[in-house]
């Protein structure tokens, strides 16, 4: 069936409908990861957006349920050049078409995704509509697109009740280290790079603004017990449990919209509990500490951006997904200093808070999809909790 993607600037792409047959009005963004489409689909940070994959062949290895980053896909629409008709992977549970239908996600294939990407790059992120209605009324659609705003998305994706996931007790439960032990077992376990249970016994509170499962997994695999709290949780409720550390998760939307959460984070900032924040969490902490954020022209979404750790001078390839960024120019250096910077465009990628056990990053050390290079930051967080406890 024919499908159309209509952009705010009046551009229309014609392709074929995939997934659910329904209209979707959304913010259109592109992601340059060459693998990991399922992780993108199930990343709650995409709530309110439709994602265009720049890699043209999508669905090649089907859907491996155990790789999902949340219980369901959160994005509004999926835009690809070619959807594979043959999923081929030993773990594949279904093909991507059935997955999209099952979760009622509409999409479009067979369009020039590179041309779309170039438009988004040149004109900035735009709203768009995916529709199967051949007789759409363009002025009407454009009016709707101009109206559209991504709002209330954190409320949509956060968990409704707190819950606790115990840390693993023995390293072997993690599965193999870097594949070496798999050679002997033949088990279908996911690989892991974790070599030490340095977080054993630590209790971490994770504030869920749309967290990806691998944040919990990364802590759990290091031995931490993780309690996940809904985004609307009061600071007092978290602090009364006396966690060893607090994590602020990634999530969708404009950070400035989360006014209540920012208030609560201010309280967390004042308490002397070590805090590690990722992506939206990083932006919320910055806002709580009095800094500002702004929307980027078209953001960073992919698995290939180099970020420099300003403390060591080392450069790491990172997984990225953000459309907003912390404004370092108006940052009070007495409160926080840049800890990471994007090598390409010099934008801020992380902050270190002065006199506090707090560090935050814009990128995704939990990867999934993308490089695992900055996974060491979870270890840094654990060391921070260690030091704080000793003090």
């Amino acid at each position: 069936m024919k499908a159309f993607l209509i952009l705010e600037d009046g551009t229309v792409f014609q392709g074929k409908a995939i997934g659910a047959c329904k209209d979707a009005v959304s913010e259109i963004v592109f992601n340059t990861s060459m693998a990991g489409y399922l992780e993108v689909l199930t990343d709650p940070s995409y709530a309110g957006q439709a994602v265009c994959m720049t890699y043209p062949l999508i669905g090649n290895y089907g859907i491996c349920m155990e790789d999902m980053e949340s219980a369901r896909p959160w994005l509004d629409g999926f835009i690809v050049r070619e959807l594979s008709r043959k999923p081929s992977n030993f773990r594949s549970d279904m093909d991507i078409q059935d997955f999209l239908v099952k979760h009622d996600i509409p999409g479009i294939e067979g369009i020039d995704t590179r041309a779309l990407t170039k438009r988004l790059r040149d004109r900035g992120t735009m709203n768009g509509m995916i529709t199967v209605n051949e007789s759409y009324d363009l002025p009407d659609v454009l009016a709707r697109l101009k109206e559209y705003r991504v709002t209330g998305v954190v409320d949509r994706v956060t968990c409704q009740k707190k819950y606790t996931i115990p840390g693993i007790k023995r390293l072997e439960e993690n599965g193999p280290v870097s594949g070496s032990d798999i050679s002997r077992t033949h088990e279908r376990k996911a690989p892991s790079m974790i070599r030490r249970l340095n977080g054993a016994g630590k209790r971490v509170a994770l504030l869920d603004f749309g967290e990806k499962n691998n944040i919990v997994r990364s802590l759990q695999k290091r031995g931490c017990d993780v309690t996940v709290y809904p985004a609307f949780t009061k600071a007092e409720e978290i602090l009364k449990e006396k966690p060893d550390g607090i994590m602020l998760s990634n999530g969708p939307g404009d950070p400035k919209e989360c006014k209540e959460a920012i208030q609560e984070i201010k309280k967390l900032y004042d308490a002397d509990v070590p805090i590690f924040a990722i992506c939206l969490g990083h932006q919320l902490m910055a806002l709580a500490a009095g800094a500002d954020t702004h929307k980027m022209k078209y953001g960073h979404r992919g698995g290939n951006h180099p970020v420099k750790d300003l403390e060591t001078g080392r450069v790491y390839i990172s997984s990225q997904n953000h459309g907003y960024v912390v404004d370092v120019e108006h940052l009070d250096q007495k409160i926080a200093v840049p800890a990471f910077v994007n090598v390409n465009d010099g934008t801020n990628e992380g902050l270190s808070y002065q006199g506090k056990n707090i560090f935050t990053v814009q990128f995704h050390p939990e990867a999934c999809p993308g490089p695992q290079d900055s996974g060491y930051l979870f270890d840094r967080f654990i060391s921070m909790m260690e030091v704080a406890k000793d003090a």
């Binding site: 693998a35 790059r121 193999p176 180099p306 450069v315």
Partner: protein, 1070 residues
């Protein structure tokens, strides 16, 4: 970290002659590295024995030595040039081994020379099997159970503990030379014996066979600060078991999920870090198709064929960045040359699919086994880029220039489904065509997967293509269907065949329906950032983004490249294409290169103003022409590939710059050419043109045997043979007529004499001849396989004058504007013309370098309307350069099981090296050393010649005896030698009782085998076996007595023990 100020003068080691497993990719890498170093103000001293390369040009390095790549020569060079550093990781395994040997011997330390880019410890950890395994174990990266063995007994004992089959890999060899898979003890013994001998350190790795697993590669970069990135990952369509150089490879990987992708990526980064590599590195993994189990197959701590492929596939210049890293820069300090906005620490993101297909030489070696194993056999490769896999595969197939247009180009229709599935058990280069036929015959994808282990995703893609074939055959050709077929890159000619129309009709339909190719940019970042690099590929499902400049501002020239490297059309033509491009740019033209070879300099994105990475077929070139509307095209620099496009280009209305198409035709067309010879009063061997075997026999009998049989319009003597009987004529004609011949086949009287050759530039009036080259071997051996001597030293002035005179007459009669190559025979002081090629030839780089006359530039000058005089040269034969320069052919016979090695009219060499010196003997000695023939070792030689050669063999025998050689000879040769008073020991023929000639060869104490096969094609199984065994056990085997005499001359000169003089050829200037 900024640049290290201590590095001021760097010695770069090249990879030497082109052989299978070490080809043009190192010219690409070396050239890029040299340019990258000089950008930083570093003085570059270059050594490479290969004169055909671009890197050995005076404008690439400050000092250029085309000298043998041996430890002794390098030591001498270091003493002479006193570099402070040496960069060994650009010259393939050859360069790395040399760097390692210099370091280990303490020579570098004692001369205060640093190894850049790598350390000896790193090389050892990556290359020494046991050290590598220990390192991998220490960081928890799995290797297949394996053991390094140094004897056959040890190998058998270990294999008995892990079970058959096992993979065998000799340490320190190239392209998996001497390796293989053993399924039983007999095979194990055979491969082990060979492998132990070929290994520089006498070691072979015996390893659990993981054949059938997915083969995945990562190209990784690391700087001195420890920053690591992956440039690209690649997946082999052919599972483990086929050398990656012989596999169809796709980038990026297609069947790995993020979990597998990142697991292997992290492992690759851990490995490069553990090996402490600074620069580029290639890591190969085997991944179990049904679990996360994987193992590391191999690591190459240097630039490689794969890194060249990755560079072209992504736009990330690995060699350039590696050179900068060697100087001390970190990845975040090096700008990405494509985007100019991002940095070298940014991992490329692809938004297209890349397919590489190897170019295998089985069309040259009809007797060779086509089976693909862990021993690489490909001479070159093609790459293609498209927005979908089907399209990329189709484009790559037609780039191969092996009469392949689609998956139907090899006909297996006569076979049943069962037979096809059975046939698939043999892994060879025809596998994808057989899979396609099996699918057409209704075989299930699972059944094909069970036999081949090829991932179902790829098999399904082939099925999509065969389903499209079926639709085109059976359905009405609607706009929709045509669009879809073009999206998958079905060429018009194939659509025409399938739909029962003509190609012109399809083209017309496309015009009417506006179905045309669009060009997309390779930009390293999937369009995330705006890039300025004009590196394009075509697709049929998108908007065009190629920026078309107006030719009013700058005239535009289309330079057609030479496609994949194969025997007969090697890196020489890339040299010519690149130099022509530079010369046009200098003259103010906008240059546009079209080529499909990822290994070459011409497909580097900063050589021309625009690069179109496309197949070189008329339709593909027309897509570019329609868009760019060039002011002209040059075809004379890109070998036969480009020449073949002449007619089509003219039909498209593109003016051919330089020599006109009809004049090119006149040189190839027998009747037209005879007319010219008659007019210019130049003699040639009598002959005739034929189409059928019957006609051929008639002509042959009229001329009298022996005769030369050859198709017209070919390079490298493809299909050329000397026939001595009607029976042979029939056989050769059958081979040639395997493909329908557009042009007649030529039958000439075979004249045996001295062969001479000139490359010249003609401005339509005057001719400039940089020098005359003389072949050591008599006529009958292809010029590309002959030792070539400049200046010709055994001919008199009279003959020289005649050659100059004839060359001038021919060039003028053919209205040559640009380059011309002419081959002559001199017999009894009479000069005959053999053939004339009004285009560049394989000797152009060699003659340019040794004479210091840049003939490609001059050719472009005359093409653009200048005369030779206006270009500052006096016409005629130029005076000698003051050096003897000898070009020595280099072969890769040991890599091609079953290939006939005897030399004949069909070219067989894969590369060449140069010997240059003030006197002939030293030059000859250098040339032999450069080709790896370094004698004496054991001072034992086997001589077995055909009856006609017995007389000449006596002189040869006598000279070997005088050098202290023990001579072995087969019965009749021995008798002839003994009769002449030479103490030759008689050995038995193979089927006689031991010890036979075979036992002698396998005894590993023989320096040399001289075996001249009976005239024409040798039918004797004996001779063939002797030659093959000699080659496979690493013994030099000569099949021409002229070559043997030259070798003797060189050995005799060596006896006088003189130090070599090293010559900086960048200083040869006039």
């Amino acid at each position: 970290m900024p640049k290290n100020p201590d590095v001021k003068k760097v010695l770069v080691i090249g990879s030497g002659p082109i052989v299978i497993g070490q080809a043009a990719e190192f010219d690409y890498a070396g050239t890029q590295a040299c340019r990258s170093l000089r950008e930083e103000g570093v003085e570059v001293v270059l050594i490479n024995s290969n004169p055909a390369t671009i890197m050995t040009d005076g404008d690439i390095a400050d000092r250029v030595y085309i000298e043998p790549l041996t430890v002794e020569v390098l030591e001498q060079l270091i003493e002479k040039e006193k570099p402070d550093s040496i960069l060994p990781n650009m010259g393939g395994q050859a360069g790395l081994n040399l760097g390692m040997e210099l370091e280990e011997s303490g020579f570098l330390a004692s001369h205060h020379v640093k190894l850049l880019g790598t350390t000896a410890e790193t090389i050892r950890k990556a290359e020494d099997r046991q050290a590598f395994k220990d390192t991998m174990e220490a960081i928890g990266e799995p290797c297949a159970p394996s053991k390094v063995v140094e004897s056959i007994e040890e190998g058998i004992a270990f294999t008995n503990t892990i079970g058959y089959p096992v993979v065998l890999r000799p340490a320190y060899t190239l392209g998996g030379s001497g390796g293989g898979i053993a399924h039983n003890q007999m095979q194990l013994e055979e491969i082990l014996e060979n492998g132990l001998r070929l290994s520089r350190v006498g070691q072979v790795l015996v390893e659990r066979c993981i054949a059938g697993w997915k083969e995945i590669e990562y190209e990784v970069m690391r700087d001195s600060a420890g920053n690591v990135i992956t440039v690209c990952n690649m997946e082999n369509l052919d599972p483990v078991g086929v050398h990656t150089g012989d596999s169809i490879v796709v980038a990026p990987s297609q069947t790995l999920g993020d979990k597998e992708y990142q697991m292997l990526r992290t492992a690759a980064l851990n490995i490069i870090s553990a090996l402490d590599i600074t620069g580029g590195c290639n890591v190969q993994f085997a991944l179990h198709p049904e679990s996360f189990e994987y193992c590391v197959i191999e690591v190459n701590p240097r630039v490689s064929r794969s890194s060249a492929l990755a560079s072209k596939a992504t736009g990330y210049p690995i060699a350039k960045v590696a050179a900068k890293i060697a100087l001390g820069y970190t990845l975040d300090e090096i700008t990405n040359a494509v985007t100019k906005k991002t940095f070298a620490s940014f991992e490329p993101a692809l938004d297209y699919c890349v397919v590489k297909i190897p170019r295998l030489p089985f069309d040259k070696f009809l007797t060779a086994r086509r089976t693909l194993t862990t021993q690489m056999k490909a001479t070159g490769e093609v790459m293609s880029i498209c927005t979908n896999f089907e399209g990329a595969l189709m484009k790559a197939i037609r780039s191969l220039e092996q009469h392949t247009e689609s998956l139907r180009s090899y006909d297996f229709t006569a076979m049943t489904q069962e037979e096809l599935l059975e046939r698939l058990k043999t892994v060879d280069d025809l596998r994808i065509y057989i899979i396609a036929e099996a699918l057409r015959k209704g075989a299930s994808q699972d059944a094909i997967h069970d036999v081949t282990k090829i991932d179902l995703w790829f098999i399904d893609k082939i099925a999509i293509l065969t389903q499209m074939e079926h639709r085109l055959e059976t359905e009405p050709l609607t706009e929709e269907l045509l669009k879809e077929a073009k999206r998958m890159e079905f060429p018009d000619c194939v659509i025409a065949q399938l739909s029962g129309r003509t190609e012109a009709q399809i083209k017309q339909m496309r015009r009417e329906q506006d179905i045309k190719a669009a060009f997309k940019m390779v930009d390293t970042c999937a369009a995330e950032f705006a890039s300025a690099t004009p590196y394009y590929y075509s697709c049929f499902d998108g908007e065009n983004e190629a920026i078309i400049t107006s030719s009013e501002v700058k005239k535009k020239v289309l330079v057609l490249g030479s496609g994949p490297i194969r025997i007969g059309q090697g890196v020489e033509f890339d040299y010519c294409s690149v130099h022509a491009t530079w010369a046009f740019a200098k003259a103010g033209y906008e240059t546009i290169i079209v080529n499909n070879n990822p290994e070459t300099v011409s497909t580097d994105f900063d050589i021309a103003d625009k690069l179109y990475f496309e197949p070189l077929t008329p339709e593909d070139v027309e897509n570019i022409v329609d868009l760019e509307k060039p002011d002209g095209a040059v075809v004379q620099f890109g070998g036969q590939t480009a020449i073949k496009l002449t007619k089509s280009l003219m039909e498209m209305g593109v003016p051919i710059l330089g020599t006109k198409a009809e004049d090119v035709d006149a040189a190839e067309d027998r009747e037209l050419f005879d007319k010219i010879l008659e007019d210019t009063k130049i003699p040639r061997a009598a002959g005739g043109t034929v189409y059928t075997a019957e006609e051929a026999k008639e002509v042959a009998n009229r001329l009298g045997y022996p005769v030369l049989v050859r198709p017209s319009y070919v390079l490298g003597g493809q299909g050329m043979q000397i026939a001595i009987s009607d029976q042979e004529i029939e056989e050769f004609m059958a081979v040639i007529n395997r493909y329908a011949q557009e042009h007649p086949i030529l039958i000439d009287k075979y004249l045996m004499g001295k062969e001479l050759e000139v490359d010249a530039v003609c401005d339509g009036n005057d001719i400039l001849i940089p020098g005359i080259m003389e072949h050591v071997e008599r006529t009958g051996v292809h010029s590309g396989d002959s030792i070539s001597v400049y200046p010709a030293h055994t001919i008199g002035d009279q003959v020289k004058e005649t050659i100059v005179e004839y060359s001038g007459r021919l060039a003028k009669a053919l209205h040559v504007k640009g380059l011309i190559n002419i081959q002559f025979i001199v017999m009894n002081d009479e000069v005959y013309v053999i053939e004339v090629n009004p285009r560049s030839s394989r000797t152009v780089p060699y003659i340019s370098k040794v004479t210091g006359i840049p003939i490609v530039e001059l050719a472009v000058g005359v093409i653009l309307g200048k005369t030779i005089r206006e270009l500052g040269y006096e016409p005629g034969l130029q005076k000698d350069a003051g050096y003897m320069a000898i070009k020595m052919p280099v072969f890769s016979f040991e890599k091609i099981r079953g290939a006939e090695i005897s030399l004949g009219p069909e070219m067989k060499s894969t590369g060449e090296c140069l010997g240059i010196a003030a006197d002939f003997n030293e030059a000859l000695y250098k040339a032999f050393i450069g080709a790896g023939i370094d004698l004496p070792k054991h001072k034992q030689v086997i001589i077995t010649v055909k009856d006609a050669d017995k007389g000449e063999a006596i002189g040869i025998g006598r000279r070997f005896e005088k050098l202290g050689y023990t001579i072995y000879a087969t019965r009749s040769t021995a008798a002839a030698l003994r009769e002449a008073g030479i103490n030759a020991r008689k050995v038995n023929k193979i089927q006689q009782e031991s010890p036979t000639v075979m036992d002698l060869i396998l005894g590993h104490r023989i320096d040399l085998v001289i075996d001249t096969p009976t005239q024409g094609r040798d039918k004797s199984r004996d001779g063939f076996l002797i030659r093959r065994t000699a080659i496979e056990t690493g013994i030099t085997c000569l099949t021409s007595l002229d070559t043997a005499k030259a070798l003797l001359t060189s050995l005799e000169a060596k006896e006088k023990q003189r130090e070599l003089t090293l010559i900086d050829i960048s200083k040869i200037n006039r």
